[in-house]
Symmetry: C2
Subunit: 520 residues, 2 copies
């Protein structure tokens, strides 16, 4: 099955070449203009094909897969509207620098001038959400374009590459296998930045090291980072949202910059020196009347030791070397008290999760307004990998979980999912059921866009009935257990914190997906 035939069409040459480059999962929501890819995937049997019932599921799952597999999946999307449906979760992946390769079917080249019903500006639609974009030109060069896209996607630390695939170059004969292209490595360490970082740490001033992306994924880099902090008295923070953090007992706890604007400003106020490692200068999620956009204090002396295209772990190794710091040893935080029976609250939920989360779990965090409370659980729980909403566009959690479970079938996945956000891509529960993904989705059901009530207050308004009607999710209540059942996922609703803990433990023991609607 897997030997490339002499006569291939363009689509088959792309599938075979990408597979030779290590791509073996395709997340798809195909339409007519992708039928030759469906056919090529079917005939070659080289990739696992995972269907999403909506394109936001496809890209969210490809994101979760890539964060855990450490390599890109390919997506199959349908024309400009299909790409647009996929774009919110592409935005999230792009902000996290997660690698992904999108194949976006388009009308046949000869058909494009006729303004057919599904015609639109495909390139225009793709450009704002892609780091790299090209339109395939003919069957013979199609695979070479795909391999260029793959190299871009895999370039450190990951990019969104989009290749537009006109239908006819897929079905035309003359496809040719293309070689694997080595991706670009990280930008090298800047010796001036290194010296400036050393000077900051030796300045005696209050210094914060803000470390993101690969540093947070790498327990050895975290040991070095903590060694540097201990040696110099610097503090450590992570950005507000991170694609992957290795957390839990036996590992280092790293605090995040808080989301709420006042708390963020307060957290960073003490520092006159900042060192950035694979993190941009921290910026407020939104602007608010009378508040600054940049979160570090005015006049804070900021050094970028490694930017988001750099390699934080080796930059930290060089920095440790210069100041004579050694790897630190993690010291576990004291366990949170086991909650007693009673309602689930923002006060007891972290402890409940900390005690209930299974060993070696992947935690997907789209808790939103409950996220400040739930994040704490990750430090004292069993060792875990924590994946967050990275670009602020809600609707990532359920698909991200599906993709993570496909990448790591032997690890339990637990999703901490806000109810309002869940509804953007609720269709991903069906993909979880179909793929028998070992995911437990915990819906944190406060029946409101709770976070927006704070935001309304931040612009100086008090909500009246019409405002509340746009911020509350009551009338009618969403019944997530029924929604899950409709997509083949069993579930239950819990209102007591000890029931929540028991439900998580029970669900983690069983294979396949489960949903817990937790009244908060």
């Amino acid at each position: 099955m897997s030997t490339a035939p002499k006569d291939m069409n363009g689509a088959e040459s792309v599938v075979r070449s990408l597979h030779a480059g290590g791509v073996d999962v395709c997340f798809a929501n195909p339409g007519t203009s992708e039928m030759q890819f469906v056919d090529a995937l079917d005939r070659t049997k080289l990739m696992r094909c995972v269907l999403g019932l909506f394109e936001g599921v496809v890209t969210g799952a490809a994101d979760g897969y890539a964060r855990m597999a450490g390599k890109p999946a390919v997506t199959l999307l349908h024309l400009a509207p299909g790409f647009a449906n996929a774009a919110a979760n592409l935005h999230n992946a792009r902000k996290a620098r997660v690698p992904m390769l999108n194949l976006v079917g388009d009308h046949a080249l000869r058909h494009q001038k006729f303004d057919a019903p599904l015609s639109a500006d495909v390139e225009g639609a793709c450009a704002p959400f892609s780091d790299w974009l090209r339109s395939g030109r003919d069957a013979g060069s199609f695979a070479a374009d795909a391999m260029t896209a793959l190299a871009v996607a895999k370039g450190q630390p990951g990019r969104i590459a989009t290749l537009i695939a006109p239908a006819d170059i897929g079905w035309d004969a003359g496809g040719k296998m293309a070689e694997v292209i080595a991706p670009k490595g990280p930008t090298p360490l800047d010796e001036h930045a290194l010296s400036a970082a050393v000077a900051a740490l030796e300045s005696g001033e209050r210094t914060v090291i803000i470390a993101g992306n690969t540093v947070l994924e790498d327990t050895d880099a975290l040991a070095l980072l903590h060694g540097i902090a201990e040696k110099t008295g610097a503090d450590i923070l992570a950005p507000t949202s991170n694609r992957r953090m290795e957390r839990g007992r036996g590992r280092f706890a790293v605090d995040k910059i808080p989301y709420p604007i006042n708390a963020a400003l307060e957290t960073l106020a003490p520092y006159t020196r900042a060192i950035l490692v694979e993190a941009p200068p921290p910026v407020a999620f939104f602007a608010y009347p009378g508040k600054p956009s940049l979160l570090l204090p005015v006049g804070c002396n900021t050094v970028t030791l490694a930017d988001v295209d750099g390699h934080g772990p080796s930059a930290l190794a060089a920095l440790a070397d210069r100041i004579g710091a050694k790897r630190s040893q993690p010291r576990d935080l004291p366990a949170l008290p086991v909650p007693q029976a009673g309602a689930i609250t923002l006060k007891n939920i972290a402890a409940a999760l900390a005690h209930a989360l299974p060993d070696n779990a992947i935690i997907v965090d789209e808790a939103v307004s409950s996220g400040g409370a739930t994040f704490e659980a990750g430090d004292t729980a069993a060792p875990n990998t924590w994946l967050a909403l990275t670009g602020g566009s809600i609707g990532i959690g359920i698909p991200l979980s599906a993709g993570a479970a496909i990448a790591c079938p032997d690890r339990p996945v637990i999703t901490l999912q806000a109810d309002g956000s869940a509804m953007y891509t609720i269709q991903a529960l069906w993909t979880q059921a179909r793929e028998n993904a070992n995911v437990t989705t915990i819906i944190l059901a406060n029946r409101s866009y709770e976070i927006l009530k704070g935001e309304l207050h931040n612009v100086g308004a008090q909500p009246g009935p019409d405002a509340l009607s746009m911020l509350n999710l009551d009338r009618p209540h969403l019944d997530f257990v029924a929604l899950a059942k409709g997509m083949g996922v069993p579930g239950r609703r819990v209102e007591d914190v000890t029931d929540l803990m028991r439900a998580i433990k029970d669900a983690a023991k069983e294979p396949g997906p489960y949903l817990i609607e937790a009244a908060v």
Copy 2:
């Protein structure tokens, strides 16, 4: 409440000016950058605010509202990802030339340079799906920009106007009321085209008149069109997809150009002359190997009597006048036989619907692969208004129905909804429940992307197991009754055609939404 105060912020000036221009419904999925609009809508109480749990619901509902109300609603969307989520149904509305005005919140102007997590190229994201696009500049000119957008949206026969709304110009003081601007009228009739159309009709050759948009909405224009056809022997066809058709007993039956490529080519093969009235030259939905893109035969002499910016009814009046044709009288087609008990099939479903559809219903048609069978029902049913999927981007039916019901609270809405397509915007059921919309959603559950199996065949492939895994919606089955229950909509599943008829009649008698899952 409704007198404009002297001191208004930008957001309030926009809300008050648009309301003075006749806009009184806002479909919204707001986020932080739109909080000042939420506040302004709350304080002024001038518009009905309808919340969607996903942006595709918002634009689909605004489309349905505009088709039935004959005027635009305003939508409230959140940054580039929120617009992208809305784009598929904007694409559909745009192809149908439905009027709509989008307010897309963006970061405050001073915040835009900082690449915050939700930052992206908002203008770039909006442009491919908008006919007109502008970014608001300051609080004082904000309402004037909104009124320009409104005039563009209302220009014959309707356009998508998008105004980007930076947060700070919404909350800044200095908002000013802006005047209503008269929209552009239709392009005038071209006398040369009129003479050419007369010549076609008098040529003695096989001639087809293809009439779309406002002609199909106007029973008087249809009477003239049929009078012209009867006088000259010309045939009449509608485009494959139409935003609104007035149909049913006592009205004129108009056949559509079929969707399947072979049937479309066969239907148009006889004609050597074609006259287009508010319709573009018919083009295949997709290209296929060895098939033409344009559907009229090569060499067919085609006259555009009125293009999509023209006014078909007055063009037809002028044409009738020139050839001396009078209004025709509709002749009802013979009733379809009442189906006997048995499974629901593509053979008996039209008759079942024809007998069960309530009087004066609005029918929303996203039947897709069942659409060829169900369309027939509209001709012999009680008088009805038929709204179709217009841009080929699936996921319009459930939101479109919600919007149509809000525009016409006294008419029953019946949605003919393919199951695969339903899952793109299933969240709209919640909006139906919240608004107590009188919609009966009939899910045509064939548990597959059935139409794509035909499309796979059309590119010359036979589906194997991996292809079928991307085209079948089994494993697990979708339980639409459970999904509806999860969003507060009661429902039942039917497998017998007489049960289907009874269920439709029962549902139409009750206020509020209902869902029928019909096994087909």
